[in-house]
């Protein structure tokens, strides 16, 4: 250890205490990345973080950043742990962070109130608090392309189209934490209006790999369909258990966090037929993904374990997260005319985002996802999802985009948003014309 490095460390330490702003390169765009490459959910966190970082790096390499400004991605490890997530937020927010993607419901819930005070948008892409779709109540939170609730309505639509829902029994197996319980209120409301019965099967975080009791109950109660809100080690275990009790896997539908390669590779052939929802494309056959391969992965600047991992479900989803943020930066730059923007500009960018099909094509992502369009009051976009099926080796997209039943869901979301702010008298909303 030479003296110079030692003094560097000492200065950095002192700076940390008194909070001197650690100089960022000028005209750069700072994007913190809260990763979880460790902990019980590392299997899903790692490809997501890779896709996120690689897309921004690709933009830097290929286009020299966005609008001429380089993007600086700084990873901060949360291990899916709320405390560390909050710490990461505190550690990076003063460096000019433009947006946070907390990647865990717990961290999202913790950041929603903090970030709105610090005027930094939270972009919880398809997770977190469904009620945050309501822009009037949550000016600083965005959940593009859609919410858990709308996703559930899409899944139910698929079931309805494949044999009807009325009089049927739908089993709901979920991780017994905030994330898994999120869609329960909607499920119960829809079961009354659509006339199906719900059977609930909670799986404790500690019992993720020990689900035989839940599946025994499934065997006993024989629901016509199973829907899963699972994550991490829960998913492969559930599919294995379902296969074990010979539950028809083509009637078992996971949500978009229960349908990745990481989940089903471990199951292999016995998982054939299992369905999952998804909103981001699969595979490497998109020009943007090819650009990542050329500009980042092949140059050895990616953290992916192997080239084949690029294009996996969660990798692409991490990339899509970056795509939406990059687009928001682009919109914000155009609106403000500035190259280097602030969190507040970023918020405007996100609110005015409009990735239609033409724009997707421009970005090299034709057919990758449903269009994403936001407004002041709609922070969700109510995007469509498609279903994919595991063929024993890989995922195949088997449906077209299924539009959600937003007319039913939106009023419920508004109600939930109202409830969220009801006991917070100082909550800052916004009015949309």
């Amino acid at each position: 250890m030479n003296l110079k490095k030692l003094s560097c460390t000492a200065i950095a330490a002192a700076a940390m205490v008194v909070g001197l702003p650690i100089a960022q390169a000028e005209d750069s765009l700072f994007m913190p990345s809260l990763t979880y490459r460790t902990g019980p959910f590392a299997g899903g966190g790692t490809p997501f973080a890779d896709g996120y970082a690689d897309y921004f790096n690709m933009l830097n390499e290929r286009d020299g950043g966005i609008g001429g400004a380089k993007i600086v991605v700084e990873e901060c490890e949360t291990a899916y742990n709320t405390q560390k997530g909050v710490e990461c937020y505190e550690a990076t927010k003063d460096k000019g962070a433009l947006a946070y993607s907390p990647l865990s419901t717990g961290i999202t819930l913790a950041l929603i109130p903090k970030a709105s005070v610090d005027e930094i948008p939270v972009f919880s892409m398809g997770y977190g608090l469904s009620a945050a779709a309501i822009g009037e109540k949550f000016p600083w939170t965005f959940v593009y392309p859609t919410t858990y609730w709308n996703q559930l309505s899409s899944i139910l639509k698929y079931i309805d189209a494949n044999g009807g829902l009325d009089g049927k029994k739908v089993g709901f197996i979920y991780l017994d934490v905030g994330y898994g319980k999120e869609p329960l209120p909607l499920l119960e409301k829809l079961s009354a209006s659509l006339g199906f019965e719900v059977a609930k099967y909670p799986v404790g975080v500690k019992e993720m790999q020990n689900q035989s009791a839940q599946w025994l109950n499934v065997r006993k109660e024989r629901p016509d369909w199973m829907i899963m809100w699972g994550w991490g080690a829960m998913n492969p275990t559930a599919v294995k258990e379902a296969a074990k009790i010979r539950y028809p896997l083509d009637r078992f539908i996971g949500n978009w966090w229960a349908g990745s390669h990481n989940d089903l590779n471990a199951v292999g052939k016995s998982g054939k037929g299992y369905l999952a929802a998804n909103f981001s494309g699969i595979g490497q056959d998109f020009p943007a993904v090819q650009d990542i391969l050329t500009h980042v992965v092949d140059k050895g600047n990616s953290k992916v374990a192997s080239r084949d991992d690029v294009g996996n479900v969660l990798y692409n989803r991490g990339m899509f997260n970056a795509v939406v943020l990059a687009e928001a930066i682009h919109v914000a730059q155009q609106k403000t005319g500035k190259t280097v923007i602030t969190g507040a500009d970023m918020r405007d960018g996100l609110e005015n985002i409009n990735i239609d099909e033409a724009r997707l094509k421009e970005l090299g992502l034709e057919g990758f996802s449903a269009p994403v369009k936001g407004t002041c009051s709609d922070h969700e976009g109510a995007g469509a999802v498609f279903l994919q099926q595991w063929n024993g080796e890989d995922w195949e997209k088997i449906t077209d985009l299924i539009e959600p039943d937003n007319d039913t869901v939106r009023p419920l979301l508004e109600e939930a948003a109202e409830k969220y702010v009801s006991d917070k008298p100082d909550w800052q909303g916004q009015t949309c014309s």
Binding site: K5, C8, T9, A12, A13, M16, V17, V18, G19, L20, T35, R37, T38, A42, E75, C76, E77, A79, N81, T82, Q83, V86, E87, E90, A91, D94, T105, G106, L109, A110, P113, K114, S116, V117, L129, S130, A131, D176, V177, G178, K181, E182, L184, P185, P202, G204, V205, K206, K303, A416, K419, Y420, D423, K424, P425, D426
Partner: protein, 360 residues
């Protein structure tokens, strides 16, 4: 050289029984407190206050709670996380039921709920000892965790299943919620922790504290000296759980802002346990040292790669810090089972006898 007690004669038992009988220690403490209360809030950054000092103080308080039970009363517990949870959920329920009640009072009241729960789960300690008891505290941990999930009333049936801290004010100043500044939150926690540490020190040097240590060192002898195991053990559980409960309430209300059940899981029980082991069982100073060490070490480790422009994954540093903490626990158990606090004392002894290395 300056750390000598020569010339300081105790003329009364009261002086001799003071918490810090040596003048230099008193001065040192005053300096530390002055820095903590006056200097840090002015010069320290938001990050330092809200991500280092506040968690440090919260965990130090929890470590004091566990240390009372483990280091002083000799009852091993793996349920600290859950007891912190009871405090946090009680605090949430109290402040949402009585929104106008002063938040400080609510924070301090919530400890009584975890004290009550602690007593219930402490009851087996009357029949069960040592490792067996440690395992039964796991029952408390897992059962309470389950309650935090399953009993919707505890989190007011929020869709998210989490408790979200509402804004509460004190003298017109926001002390909880997103609008509370780090300085305000820090000063409130610091005050609570300082006062509660003093109270713990007082109890520990008096009759009750002695009865806990008697039970710890030799429960049979203690009983033959007239200590009733029922009272001694349960009071230790109550007292310890009270501290853990307040720490849990502070953790959610003054630091995280919202919490799901994971914030109180078994890993937190272990985290606090590590703080107590590394800091030193049976030492209040050790609780602060252990908390600082366990909480700050990963933060420092995380800062190393950028400082040296090394391209090491954050995750790698995470694993390395896990290895280091594990190895240090083993190291301390082998070399100095009384932890950092003892090392500190040994260091001070060396100073007192300097330059004579071998004087006692």
């Amino acid at each position: 050289m300056f750390y000598r007690e020569a010339g300081q004669f105790k003329t009364t038992y009261a002086d001799d029984q003071a918490l810090l009988p040596i003048a230099q220690d008193r001065v040192g403490l005053i300096i530390v407190l002055a820095i903590a209360f006056l200097v840090l809030p002015i010069v320290a950054s938001d990050f330092f206050l809200s991500s280092i000092m506040i968690p440090f103080l919260v965990f130090a308080l929890a470590a004091i709670g566990l240390n009372i039970l483990m280091g002083y009363a000799g009852q091993l517990s793996l349920g600290t996380g859950a007891f912190m949870g009871v405090g946090a959920y009680s605090c949430y329920k109290l402040t949402t039921i009585f929104p106008d009640l002063n938040i400080l009072i609510v924070l301090l009241l919530s400890g009584f709920f975890s004290a009550g729960v602690g007593v219930v789960f402490g009851l087996p300690s009357l029949r069960i000892k040592g490792l067996y008891l440690a395992i039964t505290t796991l029952a408390a941990q897992f059962f309470l965790e389950w309650c935090f999930i399953r009993v919707g009333w505890l989190y007011n049936y929020n869709d998210s299943g989490a408790i979200e801290v509402p804004q509460r004010e004190l003298f017109g100043l926001a002390v909880t919620g997103p609008h509370a500044t780090p300085e305000t939150r820090y000063l409130i926690i610091l005050t609570i922790v300082a006062v509660m540490t003093l109270v713990a020190a007082n109890v520990l040097r008096g009759r009750i504290g002695r009865s806990w240590m008697m039970i710890r060192d030799m429960d049979i002898a203690a009983e033959l000296m007239g200590v009733r195991p029922l009272y001694a053990k349960l009071s230790a559980f109550a007292f310890s759980s009270y501290y853990c409960g307040v720490a849990g309430a502070l953790m959610v209300f003054m630091w995280l802002g919202s919490a799901e059940v994971e914030a109180f899981d078994i890993n937190h029980s272990f985290l606090v346990l590590f703080m107590v082991i590394i800091g030193g069982m049976g030492s209040l100073t050790g609780c602060f040292m252990g908390a600082a060490f366990i909480w700050v070490l990963p933060v420092i480790l995380r800062a190393i790669p950028p400082a040296f422009e090394l391209d090491i994954l954050a995750a790698t540093m995470e694993h390395i810090s896990s290895i280091i903490i594990g190895a240090l626990i083993i190291f301390f158990l082998i070399v100095e089972p009384h932890g950092l606090a003892r090392l500190w004392r040994v260091g001070k002894e060396k100073l007192r006898t300097w330059p004579f290395p071998y004087a006692t």
